[in-house]
Symmetry: C2
Subunit: 590 residues, 2 copies
């Protein structure tokens, strides 16, 4: 071993000990003949000192050290005269007898500090240097700790971690698969799993009762911001359970994580909200409930008074933004432009200012009497100083736009503190979505999701309006406006499954082709079962107080799906392609 202690270990009580440390030179400076070196490893930073009267050779070596040199240093622990309370090792320093340069370093292309001077692209290329920075070390440490806690919790609940294969079969549905040509089976391909869904349901058929896996999944999608082509999932499934059992089990897991990782006691029980309430009040199926500013339906108070925009709208809704009555004309114009961007998609924005002096100013004054405006304000539950923002359109679409606006205003007002954690179960999703274009129902989750037991009459009804109100035995875990996970109770009875296919307009032949394998397995005694999956990268990021996942993945890909550090993907040899019986058809433009 090159060291007796780590760089985060020594305290005043160690004074007098002879120690050897090893690590990287964070910085070194000369001060009145002495040389001070900050030595860094994963565990901390320790100050080393070479005194002015040290042997010349040692002084020379100390003064030759560059940033990021790797050294081994031996000396005596002494209590510092001027202590540094900000550092765990700030009470001591090491008076050196010797320095052994283990490795030199060329000058890194950016500073290895909490706030580096390197741009994103440069840091991505030298990811192994970026990973030396504290914020990333902390991110990966929290990831490690969360994984350990998850596994131990689930183990204590009789879950077994079972590894499922990565080389599986391409399925004709869903997102695009990554595929892998098989050399031993020419002309055929494996696919990389988008999730272990089929396998975990098979494990329930196989009697494993409680399964989990922290597992990599792959989706060949065009990458939106903060999506990765490979991502990690906490994948779980349980047998002989109802929805309540699944929610309780994973509420327990989350409670344990919050306590052990960030020492936070989350509400007990975690609040639950129906999908309908979430849409109506927050305009989102993943509401951020750290703040109110709820959406109100003000259709009754605004429609039919001669303002044609509202008169022709299905739905008119509002949010009341505290303290924003002071917005200037210019700020309101900017906000109007903001909601008109394609990402939001509103046609315009109506406002009512409730000034602190009791006066009211709105962009629709001429269409409503002061009394009518007061009625709107009352329906919007606004109070003095509030700015009421109003959008209209088709109900769910308008609510969604209001939801996006609400989050924006929440950000502007500082309501979205990453140190505050507001978990929520969203439940009672509609089982089906009707699509006007194709004139048929689609499964909102997937065609194996069970209806709620109390809605079975509607499920077996022939009426469209009955089917529309069937709720799914499905649930999402939402934290601070981000969906961290979700799942459902699965259908395990053949008759119920057949009915599902019937409603979705899937013929028996089509069902056999697409799902035959799992349907067949279910004939051999499938137990009632259900489960869920959490996005592990996102869980880690949120526990770390961040919204982006990239820093919580050691070696992420960029938005083009490239690893710029190792330069992948890349061209391969013709020999390799020949062996795999494939050929590239790509013709680069000349």
């Amino acid at each position: 071993m090159y060291r007796t202690h780590t760089c985060g270990q020594l305290r005043a009580s160690d004074a007098g000990k002879k120690v050897t440390l090893a690590g990287w030179v964070q910085r070194s400076r000369k001060l009145g003949g002495m040389t001070f070196i900050d030595l860094r490893d994963r565990y901390g930073i320790t100050q080393l000192v070479v005194k002015a009267d040290a042997p010349a050779e040692l002084v020379e070596t100390a003064n030759s050290l560059g940033r990021e040199f790797v050294i081994q240093a031996t000396g005596e622990v002494v209590e510092r005269e001027s202590k540094n309370a900000k550092m765990d090792t700030g009470d001591i320093e090491i008076q050196l007898d010797s320095i052994n340069i283990l490795n030199k370093s060329v000058t890194p292309p950016f500073t290895i500090e909490d706030n580096s001077d390197g741009g994103e692209d440069l840091r991505a290329k030298y990811r192994y240097l970026d990973l030396r920075r504290n914020p990333l070390q902390r991110a990966l440490k929290i990831r490690h700790n969360i994984a350990i806690e998850i596994r131990n919790y689930l183990d204590s609940q009789n879950f077994m971690e079972i590894e499922t294969p990565y080389l599986i079969k391409s399925t004709p549905e869903g997102a695009r698969d990554f595929v892998v040509p098989s050399r031993m089976n020419p002309g055929t391909f494996y696919a990389l799993p988008q999730s272990p869904q089929t396998f975990k349901q098979l494990l329930m058929v196989a009697g494993y009762d409680r399964y989990f896996q922290i597992v990599r999944c792959f989706r060949d999608e065009d990458l939106r911001a903060d999506r990765q082509p490979e991502f990690t999932q906490i994948d779980c499934e349980m047998s002989f359970v109802e929805q309540e059992d699944v929610l309780n089990t994973f509420e327990g897991m989350m409670r344990t994580l919050f306590k052990k990782i960030v020492n936070v006691d989350i509400p007990n029980p975690i609040p639950r909200m129906s999908w309908y309430d979430a849409m109506d009040k927050y305009g989102s199926d993943k509401p951020d409930i750290r703040f109110g500013m709820e959406i109100h339906d003000i259709t009754a108070q605004t429609k039919g008074f001669g303002f044609s925009v509202f008169d022709s709208a299905e739905y008119i809704g509002s949010i009341a933004v505290p303290g924003a009555a002071s917005y200037t004309r210019k700020e309101l114009d900017q906000l109007t432009e903001w909601v008109k961007r394609p990402q939001v998609g509103a046609k315009g924005l109506v406002y009512i200012k409730l000034n602190e002096d009791g006066t009211v100013k709105s962009s629709v004054d001429k269409f409503y009497t002061p009394e009518q405006i007061q009625a709107i304000v009352a329906a919007a539950e606004a109070k003095k100083g509030d700015l009421v923002l109003i959008l209209c359109g088709a109900k769910r679409k308008a609510q969604t736009m209001l939801g996006v606006l609400r989050i924006e205003m929440g950000n502007r007002l500082g309501y979205r503190d990453p140190k505050v954690f507001a978990p929520l179960w969203v439940v009672d999703f509609p089982l089906f979505e009707w699509d006007d274009e194709t004139n048929r129902f689609y499964a909102m989750h997937h065609p194996f999701t069970a209806p709620k037991p109390e809605h079975l009459d509607w499920y077996y009804s022939d009426k469209k309006e009955d089917l529309e109100r069937v709720c799914a035995n499905a649930y999402d875990f939402v934290l601070n406006g981000t969906e961290l996970g979700g799942g459902s109770i699965r259908i395990h009875e053949a008759a119920m499954q057949e009915r599902m296919f019937e409603i979705l307009g899937i013929t028996k032949e089509e069902a056999d082709y697409k799902f035959g394998f799992i349907i067949n397995a279910f004939k051999f005694g499938a137990p009632p079962h259900g489960g869920l999956a959490f996005g592990f990268d996102r869980v880690c990021a949120l526990f770390g107080g961040q919204e982006t996942i990239r820093d919580y993945i050691a070696f992420p890909k960029n938005n083009q799906g490239r690893d710029v550090m190792i330069d992948a993907p890349s061209q391969i040899d013709q020999v390799q392609m020949d062996e795999l019986f494939i050929q590239s058809t790509f013709k680069p433009e000349e």
Copy 2:
């Protein structure tokens, strides 16, 4: 929840409780008007009873149950009159009030018993049914338990589990990569990792100090027996360590596993053997030291006495097989045929029988005097009743054949009890192997493995015989004749690395092309580091007392790399190939 207890939970102390169980019908039988049902889940089997005077409907339901039906059964726990000591729940049975059939089952194609009547292919196709059998449930449970213990041990030793990417870059060396065409980067391919070797070394450069990962690896090799195209590795790396530190750390891990998983105290310390001794005494770099029967060099006692086969051999070696002097002529002939098979590759087999009555009989009586035979027997360290088996040839080749023969005789004599665990570190591997054909040295492990510090003079010497005796700072963990893992201390100094390339005849250009990326990373302050990797599938199998890994993998591939359950790999759509800019060049023969 469909149950109050599992099928493995109830004891005599629960008598009188009203309980509900859920599970699969293992078997049911009628006995004097009563119906007995064995209900099975992952946790055990509980006997259910429907009494003769139960309601007719209940009796009828009980009698309608087929094998593998999934039921929910409610009743009272009663202490049995005739207890079954073989079952954990054997003291009780449940007198039923009701049975709820949750799911029927068609008759499974084979019996779900410890010893199934299904053939291997049939069980592979219905893997989800095979997985219901006890031996497989136990196998996957032990795998889960080992993973939990490994993670907790390594966590306690400050290791961090860090996930490395699965979509990486194809490398021009080593075994064949599986590749993944990139849709977003047309004409290019990712590769699936054969191991995270590069990434774990980068994590050391990045200062993570102690890394591990239980990680899937992929190798597109022609599958030998008991190889899988995807397999799981316990991958580890440490900074600022010497070989001794790595061995101690993982000895600690193995000691913990043996104690916690199979309650065995392994020798402390685990014995170490040099590669040279392993080859000389056991004819293998992974000796099974559960038994002796060591190889002896009897060249001096056999060469030069006029027996031309021996006289022309570089090396003559023997093993003495206890009690096998009684082998008949026919048995000896069969053994001779056995060693002549291509898998062993001997040209013939010479024997000396030391009969219990003191007489000696050998196949080379006419070439040696009785005194010379006695000298051979003494050198072979044989005793009365032993059969001395002798092979000759080039030294290492003959030793290897003797090693294979030794294992075979060990099997025949029952010396290889899977409940006995004999771990061993094999150390001091040669750093280089000379190849006569290409007239150059090859790295025995890989070109980043460091020489032993005490052999540095030889390492920098120009003499072939010096280089041949340089030992690597490398080590293998061997258990019961199987290599479970191995690793090395890596080179971290530029000058030592350059010397390695020089010895291997790799030019600077070639080195840059093949390893440039990692060499470049090493310029930024690489710490001294080393590590190892264990084959997790094999670790699980050996702890479970098996030699084959297939039962320790939930969904393995067959020898053609196929998953016959899901029928993968399979053909994909032309549309999919077009999107990926690839085309299949395979033309099935007509």
